[in-house]
Amino acid sequence: MDFTPHTPDDVRAMLEALGMQDLRELFADLPDALLEPDLHLPAPMSEQEILAHLRELAGKNASADKAFLGGGLRPHFVPSLVPALAQRGEFLTAYTPYQPEVSQGVLQAVFEYQTMIAELTGLDVSNASLYDGAAALAEGVLLALRQTRRMGVVVSQGVHPEYRQVLATYLHAVGAELRTVDLEDGLTPPAEFDDTVGAVVLQSPNFLGAIEDPAPWVEAAHATRALVVYVADPLSLALLKPPGEWGADIAVGDGQPLGNPMNFGGPQFGYIAVREKLVRQLPGRLVSQTHDVDGRRGYVLALAAREQHIRRAKAKSNITTNAQLTALMGAMHLAALGPEGFAEVAAASVARAHALAEMLARLPGVERVTPEPFFNEFVLRLPRPAAEVRAGLGERGWHAAAPVPAEYGANLALFAATERHDEDDLAGLAAALKEVLA
């Protein structure tokens, strides 16, 4: 089935208006050699049939709504109003708000989102969103290099390994140098930077879940006029001292914990926030308040001179489509919870994770690798390879023990807990892990 409204009469009449008899004439400007290839695709389906087919495929997956998996992406409770509002057709089926008079809905919602991200990070300005945490990191680092006119980047090994891989791809393209500082006992050791370094990157809580002390890196970076890019899980910012207060210049992260389902890894959204002086270096869309000819408050896309459709080859980034709807879901989520609710969710997640870590570390041969203090994710050393353990848990209906890349050590597994887990869930996982390791 397709979604075209024309009846055979419509098609005939419209072709006639063009002096044509046959739809093929619409493609008369294509070389014959190219025309009408045989496409081998499955036969069309009705809505009822495709949904039945998809339900069958969905049946081959095991829901991870109670997963103890992390990596910045976790099952968190999302208030029902978030998807309900985000599914409104006006938000869902609009595009970039180029026509502000009929786009105040998206523009104001983005303005409010920008305000919330600035509040969370303790920085001055947020953009409208980026694709994900990894792209936000890459863009944040490129921003720092533009500003400092330097080509050196130092990154802590505590930054999510997939983010570092994406960063390496982006930096290779522009010929920048990337140096990684290995963790020591789960934490980033102090480092010194020379004056070729334009960006230093730290994540807290780091990939192993540990809360870092960013002060030495911030101090060392600023001593050589390098900028600090701080990767932070937005949920942690409900409770922890924000990047801006630590002295970071740029904060980036992945927004999934704010109002978005896990979606098997995407979409979520990436956020980036910066100090005022870096505004004109920001990539992507930015919404500004202004007023209309009658003096009414309104909102527009601003500082477009940074962007690809104006600056072309000299743009700050090539980004156009970002992750607007998922970012607005983040804003709706924060609006629904408010500061107290948001802090309660974070505290519950922390409490569950600490309770779980204690239970699991009591199992024979299991040892916690993440040092105190940690937030809501942590790493355990298991007596066997994590992938095997994860598979064993999976057979028992539990999702946990994501394999940690070997660069961090052997047989390491990542765990997380959230407000969605209750005490029975924790006990159930502990029992299952005991069985798998037995």
Partner: protein, 481 residues
């Protein structure tokens, strides 16, 4: 004067609560997290009840138009109907974590695998990655494949230039820069197509690639495409296909058969996934066999009856995105392709082209100028009658209940209005739109004051963009602060 629409922050009252999480046990945060790590004050988020949140966003949505509410012929953006089936489909797969055991996500991996295959078939490419998160992200991925290919042949240092037509999307030159290339513009000829002579002259051993979209941004099919690609390939130059305009030719021709080496698609344009006010989209990249070794990891492969994440690509350009891409967008596109099948996709493109040509003809009949008045594909460029500005016509359209076309793009046409009706609009909608355009032209010429001050009936009227750029206000702050 009407009252301003309040922000959520202005609706906030200290101590008011919205959604309440389950009652938490007392948590010793200072003990667990370290007192020195705690924030001194909570973030100043709005404190509002649930009804206020719902009413706020519902009323905001009423200050917004989308495809669901209005005809939205925004050129180059393919604002077609987004079936709700796609939303129902995506919801079936929302609660999956990217790090769960691959044995527990076989259904999801099957969708990824099959969508890779379908897109390869539709574009005529050999291998596809679904990792890029949007069109421009796909462009960057594609250009990095080309760069890795040249580097693997020892020509990385030599080939430093990317050719881009002057009619190209702005993201093309921006992408080439991000991929570390210098950009050289190639002029269009008087027929609106790439000037083959100028292009041949621009080719050389320093050129790495040409980025093209076909049909181009004027909505015209590049008729000399086969000669053009042969000329480029003769010089070792790779051909990049910007798939933003694929909606014109699905099932009628394939970029791979034209000779393109790499292509990106916009699932949120061609394959009907919603645009979401500016994403999330998805920008898969298809590559010919010689570029496949460089694709980002992981891709999904099939071994017997099992679907696996494949990280084994020693020559990969690396990773472009965390996890596996915008999976929930892929599910919607998969749903769309399975519903239409090959015949449905072909019909969709035919109807898109029919609607565009019908509209082109009709608008020419009511005073609009068509600078390239020949058979177009899914979109075309119009100019307002002499004496009117594209911007004013766009603003007047708002009062008539239409989202305007893309204006002032491509840059090579003065007062350009780029109109893409898509295949999902009915003949009545197009006819009514033409009537409105005719009335705007007539009235605008008669009454320049009227059109210069349109719109009158929108939630806000023309906004002061100069003030916003000179002194941007990028966040809400309390008045006293």
């Amino acid at each position: 004067m009407k009252r301003d629409f309040p922000t959520l922050f202005e609706r906030s009252r200290t101590g008011r609560r919205g959604t309440r999480p389950p009652r938490p046990a007392e948590v010793d945060l200072a003990g667990l997290l370290g007192a020195e790590n705690l924030r001194a004050a909570p973030p100043r988020l709005p404190e509002v009840d649930e009804l206020t949140v719902v009413r706020h966003y519902t009323n905001l949505s009423r200050r917004q138009v989308g495809v669901d509410t209005n005809f939205y012929p925004l050129g180059s953006c393919t604002m077609k109907y987004n079936p709700r089936t796609g939303e129902a489909a995506a919801a079936l797969f929302a609660e999956l974590h990217p790090y769960q055991d691959p044995g527990t996500v076989q259904g999801a991996l099957q969708i990824v695998y099959e969508l890779q295959e379908y897109l390869a078939e539709i574009t005529g490419m050999d291998a596809v990655t679904l990792q890029p998160a949007a069109g421009a992200h796909g462009e960057l991925t594609g250009m990095l494949l080309i760069r890795a290919y040249h580097e693997s042949r020892g020509e990385g240092e030599q080939r430093r230039v990317v050719l881009v037509p002057d009619s190209a999307h702005g993201s093309n030159p921006a992408t080439a820069s991000m991929a570390g290339y210098q950009v050289r513009e190639v002029p269009s000829g008087p027929d609106g197509e790439v000037d083959l002579g100028a292009l041949r002259a621009a080719l050389g051993p320093e050129v790495a690639a040409i980025m093209l979209t076909n049909p181009n941004t004027l909505g015209l099919f590049e008729r000399k495409i086969l000669e053009l690609i042969d000329a480029a390939h003769d010089q070792g130059v790779q051909l990049y296909y910007d798939g933003a305009n694929l909606n014109a030719i699905m099932g009628w021709a394939r970029p791979g058969d034209m000779g393109f080496d790499v292509v990106h698609l916009n699932l949120h344009k061609t394959f009907s996934t919603p645009h979401g006010g500016g994403g999330p989209g998805s920008g898969p990249v298809g590559a010919k066999a010689h570029l496949a070794p460089f694709l980002p990891v992981p891709t999904v492969k099939r071994e017997g009856g099992r679907f696996l994440l494949d990280f084994d690509r020693p020559q990969t350009i690396g990773r472009m995105r965390s996890f596996y891409g915008n999976f929930a967008v892929m599910v919607r596109a998969y749903t769309y392709i399975r519903m239409l099948g090959a015949e449905g996709l072909k019909r969709a493109s035919a109807m898109a082209v029919l609607n565009a040509n019908y509209l082109r003809k009709k608008l020419a009949g009511v005073g609009y100028r068509i600078p390239y008045d020949r058979l177009c594909k899914h979109e075309f460029i119009a100019q307002p009658p002499e004496g009117l500005k594209a911007l004013d016509v766009a603003k007047a359209l708002l009062d008539y209940g239409y989202h305007p076309p893309t204006v002032y793009f491509p840059l090579i046409v003065k007062e350009a209005m780029m109109i893409e009706p898509t295949e999902t609009e009915s003949r009545e909608t197009l006819d009514e739109y033409v009537e409105a355009m005719a009335e705007i032209a007539r009235r605008g010429l008669e009454d320049p004051e009227w059109i210069a001050h349109t719109p009158y009936r929108t939630p806000v009227r023309r906004l002061d963009e100069v003030a916003a750029n000179r002194k941007p206000v990028l966040r809400w702050r309390p008045e006293e602060a």
